[in-house]
Amino acid sequence: MEWRRKHVLGLADFSTEEIGFVIDTARSMEDVLTRDIKKVPALRGKTVVNLFFEASTRTRTSFEIAGKRLSADMVNFSSAVSSVGKGETLLDTARNIDSMKPNIIVIRHPASGSAHFLSRYVSCSVINAGDGSHEHPTQGLLDLYSVLKVKDKVKGLKISIIGDIMHSRVVRSNLHSFGRMGADLWLCGPASLVPREMGRSGATITYDIREAVRDADVVMMLRIQLERQKRAFFPSLREYAHKYGLNSEVFSLAKKDAVIMHPGPINRGVELSDELADSAHSIILNQVESGVAIRMALLYLLAGGHNAAH
């Protein structure tokens, strides 16, 4: 197939073929990461701007390393030290940056839909690195890629995502990435944090963590996003940890070769016990590793060809 996409805003409109194409490209990128000289000249002379309006360690560093491995010039922008503090709007900030002729803007913003909004007003490509509770497409792709590396195929696997489903953009992207590949998806959390409409995606909803973990191939734990919760969704963090935290006893219900995932950052002792986070079942750090390859693939696919407006 030919890659014709200019922006990566969400996985909702990605075809199965496109997802496969990104994964294949990421595999080739991973070859580069295993060499002594982990850098290729593919994006020489291209500029990528990291436009982050929310705190981020993994995603921003991952995009930065991915760009540098491909020889792109990476520019980091963080709202804490920018004119946003002086009252500039998102649109003005983006238009100003667009005037400096970057090839790609990578944006993270607390408002859902901000990446779509931006893509209508700038001439460069836009990659959504997380917009509110909407989507986090690169995470959705890297999670799929991480599972494919340990399980060969995703079709028929029981994949349970447990935690703050309502506020999670990771879930919304994963429903598309794993869903397209035919996984048996389960969503679990306190009833107040699992919107019933999510069942329309084809996923099974349960409020019992044991039911979610039983015979699962993949258990993905999510952080409680207190910063997005504007009211109390459960009585206390301690009670939440007791009812929805993953510990060895609950995890023993899963398949023997089950893996544990987490998009990070982990709140140890809340959703995931120390012991499990550091166990051989955890592929959390492999997810981070896959992230660089996936982001290299997307930067490469967007920065070349007919998309190269500048």
Partner: protein, 186 residues
């Protein structure tokens, strides 16, 4: 031999003979197979390098190391092509430091692929030297690059394309000269 505007330049038997001579030339110039490593350029050079590896085995009785390289990420026309070319894998599972690396490709044309392949190789280590073996040299160089071992020199027009078919058994391999506007590079 004409069929739908294409002319047969080499058939499987002819290719076998040409590759035998190339192998002998490689062994003669390097005084044996010591320190030689073969690197095929994706996609066309890969099966050819395997044939050469097999011939070295039957002549010298040694298995030389062989790998393959995809030059896509080193191309100088990435932002000029209509879309991003699909990446293939690169696999050089040995150290090329102080090796005599023989790059193998099917068709030598502008020389830009070879330039990219040399850049890629240098990222893997510091070979003692890099040599170039090609099945077909069709001329029209755009860079100061020449091959050390040439199977067949084929004069071509820029509007023609050389099509190397190397799938399945070697008897079925063929090289055609096509009289249609060249769409792709070498």
């Amino acid at each position: 031999m004409k069929k739908s505007g294409r002319k047969l330049i080499l058939d499987g038997k002819g290719m076998d003979r040409v590759l035998s001579r190339l192998t002998h030339e490689i062994l003669e110039k390097n005084r044996g197979a010591e320190e030689i490593a073969l690197v095929g350029i994706c996609s066309g050079g890969v099966p050819l390098s395997r044939v050469i590896q097999g011939k070295i085995r039957s002549i010298e009785g040694v298995d030389v190391q062989a790998g393959y390289v995809d030059i896509t990420l080193y191309r100088d026309d990435l932002s000029r092509a209509g879309y991003q070319p699909r990446l293939k894998r690169t696999e050089i599972p040995f150290s090329i430091d102080d090796k005599k690396v023989v790059l193998v490709d099917d068709v030598l044309f502008t020389g830009r692929t070879i330039r990219a392949a040399m850049d890629a190789l240098i990222d893997f280590g510091r070979p003692k030297n890099i040599q170039l073996a090609v099945l077909i040299d069709r001329g029209h160089r755009e860079l100061p690059i020449r091959a050390d071992y040439v199977g067949r020199n084929v004069p071509t027009a820029r509007s023609e394309t050389v099509e190397v078919v190397v799938e399945g058994e070697m008897e079925g391999w063929n090289v055609f000269l096509r009289e249609i506007p060249a769409g792709k590079g070498e």
